[in-house]
Symmetry: D2
Subunit: 339 residues, 4 copies
């Protein structure tokens, strides 16, 4: 059983069905009937007018979002372990034409208003220094923690006070919402978020993430973003196959059902891993302390996962699992001998 | 019946089956079993070691190819109606960091050695002018013409003599090969081509083009290209679904069968449109002279297509058609009254 | 006697004196007393509030102007022989992050409203094509012609009608104004120009051009431009030496006196070259028909100049000359035997 | 008396004389007699073949150096307080098209082999992470410390072992060499440095820094750099005035004499500031602990300088000073009452 990552799972049946349903001739690019429904579907989901674009990867969604929020000479405040810093081979620098990521520390890969405020104080308001123009946070974070609505709102307040825009990398937004049990709006635009990378691929999709813009500037930014999408080679000619996947997720509650399954599996593992957890489990990722011998022991039982530095491992659950199906690993974790 | 474009057709059954066959857990990105087969499949097809990367769009394939062949201060000689010039919203400028497209005239959107040579003469070899570093041609061209192997080779010779690399935009490469009946190698590396955008989407795929590198620098360029792919947000996490589509095309002869079907349909239309053709029909596109009244007449019969300036229209056939299935349009064309 | 170019002449005495006068400690970058006077000096000269930045080259001034007027995915309509197209090694592409220069034909390197309008018609308003966002003209042109105020205004009208900004490359703006005898304002903001590269180096300066912004967006664009200036390494730490040169030019009428001297020399040569002129002489450049033998004959008499293709030559006069001092060449031209 | 910065001092007489001596017509750009002597002058100074380009600012020199040493998807290891990180408004990101600066800690703004090695260990060799490609160090550092030859060599060894290139920001290289008393070669190419930004402006020049390339790739990199120089608008048409300044510095020992004067002044101040020094004084900068009251006291006596955070100040001496001329400040420092 694989716990490497949720990014390589099979496609969930409803999404596959949606692909099949879209399989007839329609207009190219985003001129089709599916793409036309995106704005409406997300506006309903977020209880506010939303402008939505399909994109093929989270990296593209994050980067295009930042390109609309930050000029080339500006900076983006973010966590030092954020995906945009660590795992995108400099894609934000490419799309923003060299804007500066400004990495900050924070427990569990969470950004705090304090860290942001402290960093802002160090920037002289002259032409020699890169001015901060945006904040980017990840929810759920790279360590599987979720922001509470008031935590996002506190960052949103700081942003507003300093004229910064706010981007949220929501590669696992569904898991964050499912765990928190709040309205998607509460974690985003109501808390000051301007742009959201809404992930689907990790949640059962094949190819297709959504980039959402909220608020008064949503139209202008979406117009810019459609230019970036084309200019970066991301405007698929058969875009309806992406739109259909996303709609399958969000026109009903599939996105939440899948996330709940993955989260449930993670909670089951967490119970098995009591005492080993390096972070609270608030989504579908666990970071657990494991000796090399223990890791080997688990692998010998057929469980696949990545080491996470020395003496630790990462376990990622996914939409196709649930508490029951991961019980063998939960038990195996519990049975580990720490002697 | 639609003749708008081959870029919005449904997915051909073999490709859909390949997607289904890939639908189980494997490693992410291009670490899966399907992606691993790409180099081999294309090396067999092209009778030489080939380095192959999947990409999601032709624009991305073209742009990344050019980014590996031309520095930011260099220029790319190409036809003034080439897709990279006219229809990519400046994507080559984005990926190459501002390299200059150098558009040239030429009948049927074909580049000639003479046009290239003349243009090269105008460039002073000093630091004030943009030096040409690459040639990009499209095969089949934007007007549905194919280059003969010796035509490509003649351009290849000019390129070699001036230290230029050669890129071929093969969004409809299959149609070109199917029409010409030659070996893929004869139209590419044997004729001096360094990089090929090998199209699948217009030929029955959903999402997935291949970028191929030939020759002594193939490894180095492919390594660069994998960086650009990630950096531009084009490294899909479930890349196996793209690889599987491409393999379905080229591990057998599906790519040629589909192209032959489309080409056959085009020939059938060409016979119906004798006397109206603005260009020879050497692939799956027809450009025909039509008055507004005639265009309206055809549309009234249920045929969909785009006008192509005044008094002309473009008809594109695709893999799902053949001579028989497009007979109604062929007949309708023949029946048009030119009085 | 040298007629190669006005870009390599010595420094005129008043400018050298200004450099010496600035040679004491002051604040760095543009925080000094000279830099602080630029806005005022140009506002007086142009009879309107102007925002002015010193820069070290015309290429930098042109490129930074375009970077503030055109987004990366936009296009700049310009003459096909414009300096920005032909002689800047792609600098506009570098500063604009890949915006597209859209070269147009036109006699004497002048852009016409008709050429602009025709080109605009070819651009589809969809996301696949690069939208025009700016016009750039050169005054005096690369062939030494000047635009009349109403010619600029006609282009300004077209620009306004299509939402385009207007940039003027004024490397030889002084020569254009001196020839035309009109107010600087009439050739610029009153005619719809948003940004002007105001040349000083060719007119007797050492290092120092001015980039000027007019109109309602001047402040915002100047703020952007100061970022680009720093970010491109153009913010000299001892900026007062540049500012002092520019002020020496424009706080009095030195810029016009120098230009008149150069223009006068050009007119004297033009009289000697009657019958050989390829363009009217409206600034300080002459393009004359000369056989190879005639060119050699002139060179043998000690006159230095560049060939301009076959059978032609370019003669550039400068601030240090006048009608009297170039009389020997005028006479030598007259004396050429066309037999 | 001013101790704000050495970047705003007047021009030293020998440099001004060199400017005057260059003030006659010659070829434009770098085609003149002065520019032609740069390679030779620096080759003699560094006892090895050197390729040298004049540039107008240190920011341009640093950025163009990095653009030749690091691809857009690569990273540059540097100190977190390096000028390229803190004071260039992202210029390296602009010139390198988005390469990543990788800031590291280190006492006195010095980079250590240990810090570099530790950071390199954190980079996975896969396509998701930005690979380090270069190291950039500043000598003298931003805190006025100098690297010993063997300290540079130790970094050079690490670089070589990991395939990294080495850049040195030598805005105050003269001060570093003057303090150390070693051969320029020992601090650069003999220790593994590939490219050096050789500062002149802070050392008595007006406008003009040199970018030097050493080693087997010097020619290729210099050729690239001349493209970047033009493309970034840094190719002055009257380049001889920059070349002449640089030659005045390095064809004799002016660069060392000026640096020794500034260093001597710094040492004199250091003696006055015993007990207050935050860093050893190894060039022409002092960082001293001062209460607000003490700072005010000094300013009341006519000494100008910048605060450096709370309770500290920076004092920079320059070429126009020496131990004798700064004695008043030395004495004033000594006389401060710490009660």
């Amino acid at each position: 059983m694989y716990f490497f990552s949720d990014n390589a799972t099979p496609i969930c049946p409803e999404v596959m069905a949606a692909i099949a349903a879209a399989d007839h001739e329609d207009h190219g690019y985003d001129g089709d009937a599916w793409s036309a429904r995106l704005d409406g579907a997300f506006s309903a989901l977020f209880e506010t007018p939303v402008r939505a674009l399909w994109l093929s990867t989270g990296t593209a969604a994050n980067s295009i979002a930042l390109a609309t929020l930050c000029p080339p000479y500006g900076g983006v405040l973010c966590h030092e372990e954020a995906h945009i810093v660590v795992d995108e081979c400099g894609a934000p620098g490419f799309f923003t034409h060299g804007a500066t990521l400004m990495p900050l520390p924070g427990a569990g890969a969470k950004l705090t208003p304090e860290a942001v405020t402290e960093r802002l104080k160090t920037i002289r308001p002259d032409v020699h220094q890169v001015p901060a123009r945006a904040i980017s946070i990840t929810n759920a974070t790279e360590y599987g923690l979720g922001y509470a609505p008031d935590e996002v709102a506190a960052l949103g307040e700081v942003a507003k006070a300093h004229g910064l825009s706010v981007h949220m990398d929501g590669a696992r937004f569904a898991n964050a919402v499912a765990h928190r049990g709040c309205a998607p709006a509460d974690l985003t635009w109501r808390a000051g978020v301007d742009a959201l990378s809404f992930g689907c691929v990790k949640n059962g999709g094949m190819i297709g993430e959504a980039l959402l813009f909220f608020g008064a500037q949503a139209d202008a930014r979406a117009a810019e973003a459609t230019r970036w999408r084309k200019r970066s080679g991301h405007l698929m000619s058969k875009g309806r196959y992406l739109a259909a996947q996303i709609l399958a997720m969000v026109e009903g509650d599939l996105w939440l059902r899948n996330a709940r399954a993955a989260n449930g599996a993670a909670q089951a593992l967490a119970e098995g891993a009591t005492g080993r957890l390096m972070h609270p489990v608030e989504a579908n990722e666990l970071f657990v302390r494991l000796t090399a011998a223990q890791a080997a022991q688990l692998r010998a039982q057929g469980f696949g996962f990545y080491d996470w530095g020395e003496g630790a491992a990462r376990l990622v659950t996914n939409w196709s699992q649930d508490a029951a199906s991961v019980a063998p690993l939960a038990q195996a974790l519990k049975a580990l001998d720490d002697g």
